[in-house]
Symmetry: C2
Subunit: 107 residues, 2 copies
């Protein structure tokens, strides 16, 4: 992702997904691109941003907790989650947050 | 940062700092390392994680909003913020969040 997501006035929600990968691609890059696309089609989706160096950080933004729950339970996303546990991740942490304040700068 | 921060039971707070850099280092890497170190010495600090590709994402975790406010007003951090506006960032967004739920996985 190369643009900072434009999100509405708070409150809205964020899912911070921080991960450490296992070695080798094993289909990960293709799945990650597909999950970005699929997430963007879900109700309540507001945007996504990702970067990876030693750690990967993906933050997705959502209208409410119900949207996050539905995305979590999406069938194709569930399959990706299972492969995450089985193959792709050494470790990860998911943090579900209520965004209370936002400000920014543009040159 | 190469480890996912270990944070306490929610609720606690997160500051999601998403940025796009200008070209050239211009002292940025040294400042970023110093700010990671300085943040870790502040009251209420719980951890930090960063990654940069096209976008940079740094998430710092804090005990409460008061800790975030104090860190924001820290003198050395203020100087870094000024150079951020003047030199280092093309654009950035800061999102202040209340972490409501956390779960994870470790292989």
């Amino acid at each position: 992702m190369s643009n900072i997501p434009k999100t509405p006035e708070p409150p809205y929600y964020a899912v911070i997904f921080t991960s450490s990968r296992t070695t080798g691609d094993n289909g990960y890059a293709e799945m990650a691109a597909r999950m970005d696309e699929l997430a963007s089609e879900q109700e309540g989706y507001l945007g996504i941003e990702s970067a990876r160096e030693d750690l990967g950080i993906t933050v997705s933004y959502w209208k409410d907790l119900e949207s996050i729950q539905k995305w979590h339970e999406n069938g194709e996303h569930r399959l990706a989650q299972m492969k995450g546990y089985e193959i792709w991740y050494q470790s990860f942490t998911v943090r579900i947050c209520r965004v209370e304040k936002e400000y920014g700068f543009e040159r």
